[in-house]
């Protein structure tokens, strides 16, 4: 029987932030305890549908992110489930101590929803392109960190986190990217998703890099390299079982993320592997630098976050098996 090469198709391109906006709107309809707060970026976060339909549960806080986090923490007292919305940079670094004390340490049920994460924010440049947020958030005890890969998954994740009790960091982005996951998926926090079975190498990818990993997988297959692609949408808690099982099978690993090496998915995977199953690894991530202005595509290519970079890392790690 002829072996069929993996082929992944996307029907359309959509922004993950719209997945958040549509998910939030749906939540508003089915859960009256869901409230939303936004720091003067309602349109950018696609929260306008929620605002229009549920004005009594939408709170404009102006350009005051620290206050937004504190207000959200307070709103949980009495049973509300607040979703805060602003850019990833202002959702994390700017308000780290507020999240640490009023939300994480206090165990508050706040959903910190962060758009425009990473380089794909594009032309606004490095001031807004946070590449450290996964690290900042995953270090906080009790914080769940999620980075879905496309519109459908972001929408499903938004709906799912309302059911999870405890603080969550939900990271998504600005550009229109391929939609390829099931529109009716049920999002399971902490459960890695196997997208392509392979035998030679494991690619663990998160966020926008999942599609790049699939494209890399297709190209590698044409060269006779069988790549296993796993979507790690939840960076914390990490699906350690899935990581170990795949690494055991393939014997080498590449991680891919739109984030710094330091503090990212790669480090989380490396910690698990080094402890339980030392495995050769390569990292597709930003190498300890800030971004710059440019189109998302140009930036992803320049900073080594494309499918080409993944292919290169796969070839490098295969040499070390």
């Amino acid at each position: 029987m002829e072996k069929t090469l993996p082929k992944f198709v996307s029907t359309e391109k959509k922004d993950t932030r719209s997945g958040f906006g549509d998910g939030l709107y749906e939540l508003g309809q089915k859960n009256k305890d869901v409230v939303a707060l936004c720091a003067d970026l309602t349109g950018s976060l696609k929260m306008d549908k929620f605002e229009k339909e549920f004005p009594d549960r939408f709170f404009q806080v102006g350009i005051a992110e620290a206050n937004m986090i504190g207000v959200a923490a307070g709103m949980t007292i009495g049973g509300k489930i607040p979703f805060t919305g602003t850019f990833a940079n202002f959702s994390t670094g700017r308000v780290y101590d507020q999240i640490r004390q009023s939300v994480a340490y206090s165990g508050k049920n706040v959903k910190i929803c962060a758009s425009h994460a990473g380089l794909t924010l594009g032309e606004d440049g490095a001031t807004h392109q946070i590449l450290e947020d996964i690290g900042l958030m995953k270090m906080l005890p009790g914080m769940t960190v999620i980075n879905p890969c496309d519109y459908n998954q972001t929408k499903a994740a938004t709906i799912a986190i309302a059911e999870h009790k405890g603080p969550v960091y939900l990271r998504f982005g600005r550009p229109k990217v391929p939609v390829f996951t099931d529109p009716n998926q049920k999002f399971e926090i902490g459960k890695a998703l196997l997208l392509n079975e392979g035998t030679d190498v494991s690619i663990f990818a998160t966020g926008h890099l999942v599609w790049e990993a699939l494209k890399a997988c297709e190209a590698l297959a044409e060269e006779g390299i069988s790549a296993e692609v796993i979507n790690i949408h939840t960076i914390k808690p990490l699906d350690e079982e899935a990581v170990l099982a795949s690494a055991k099978k393939t014997g080498c690993v590449v991680t891919a993320e739109e984030h710094q090496y330091n503090g990212g998915l790669g480090e989380s995977v490396a910690r698990v592997l080094s402890q339980h199953l030392p495995t050769p690894m390569e990292f597709v991530a930003v190498n300890d630098s800030f971004g710059e202005s440019g189109t998302p595509e140009q930036l992803m290519e320049k900073y080594g976050l494309s499918s080409n970079a993944i292919i290169k890392s796969v070839k490098a790690v295969l040499q070390r098996k």
Binding site: N67, G70, V71, A73, G74, I77, K80, Q101, G107
Partner: protein, 281 residues
């Protein structure tokens, strides 16, 4: 409800608790704690509608209090214990290993009476605003109280929250500033002058009041006046004048006892000035 004389007795006991609590671990903040005793006793034994025996974080149907300047945890803990939230003998564990009475208040160890962690300054007003809005959304006519240090209003987040509360007409919130004019490094006027505090809050759209925080009758009447101003479209700020270290002569009149524990001799001297009224823990 305890009468004024009984409230004064509680105040004396709370002051004894405070100095004993910080003495044992040789650590903690007696100055601001002593200055705010009347405020806490008035709130918990007279003003607030609350349920010490059946504490829930959500506090539905109850008035809520948030301590934003968490370092004055001794007065908070003593008041909570004395009003029945947790056993008084637990005060003996303050700042010790494995205690629920952490240096700064937290929900982390499940201590009854605490609804959010505080200590890193400037965050409590935002939290109080959020809780007050939830009360409104839940259709309650209960109130939310918060206390802040005067030095604490140097934090920018306080003014973000100040703007927010006025904009959203959070008129079920009664906040108070402990205006003792002192902070760790010295007098507030020297460290970072606060200017006209009352005018600042008025300019931010708050209803403001002043009261003497070291007279229990004035505190009760002040808080009752504040309650009468709720529901009128504006958040309320009380500028409460207090003396840091109130009740212990050598701790008064300077900033030096902000965060210093008394030694054995100083403890004895402090206790000799404070009548044991309800029994030490």
């Amino acid at each position: 409800m305890p009468d004024i004389q009984e409230l004064q007795k509680i105040c004396s006991q709370v002051r004894r608790d405070i100095v004993r609590m910080v003495h044992k671990p040789q650590s903690g903040h007696p100055g601001g704690s002593l200055g705010c005793v009347e405020y806490f006793v008035a709130l918990y034994f007279n003003i607030m509608k609350h349920n010490p025996k059946n504490f829930t974080i959500d506090g539905k149907g109850e008035d809520l209090f948030f301590l934003s300047n968490g370092h004055i945890s001794p007065v908070f803990y003593s008041t909570l214990a004395r009003s029945g939230y947790f056993p008084v003998k637990e005060l003996d564990t303050f700042r010790m290993i494995d205690s629920r009475l952490q240096g700064h208040p937290t929900t982390h160890e499940g201590l009854e009476g605490v609804r959010v962690a505080s200590g890193s300054l400037g965050q409590g007003l935002s939290v109080a605003c959020g809780a007050a809005l939830t009360k409104k959304m839940n259709g309650e006519n209960t109130l939310v109280y918060s206390l802040h240090g005067d030095g604490e209003i140097q934090e920018g987040q306080i003014w973000e929250a100040a703007m927010f509360a006025a904009h959203h007409k959070i008129d079920n919130l009664i906040s108070t500033i402990d205006y003792n004019g002192r902070q760790i490094d010295g007098d507030t006027e020297d460290v970072m002058s606060l200017g006209n505090v009352e005018a600042k809050w008025q300019a931010f759209g708050w209803h403001t009041m002043k009261m003497n925080g070291n007279n229990i009758e004035e505190v009760i009447s002040g808080l009752n006046q504040a309650k009468a101003e709720t529901g009128k479209g504006k958040p309320i700020m009380i500028i409460m004048t207090t003396e840091m270290g109130q009740g212990v002569d050598f701790m008064m009149g300077s900033h030096k006892w902000h965060g210093v524990a008394p030694n054995d001799e100083q403890l004895a001297s402090a206790l000799s000035q404070l009548e044991e009224t309800l029994g030490d823990y």
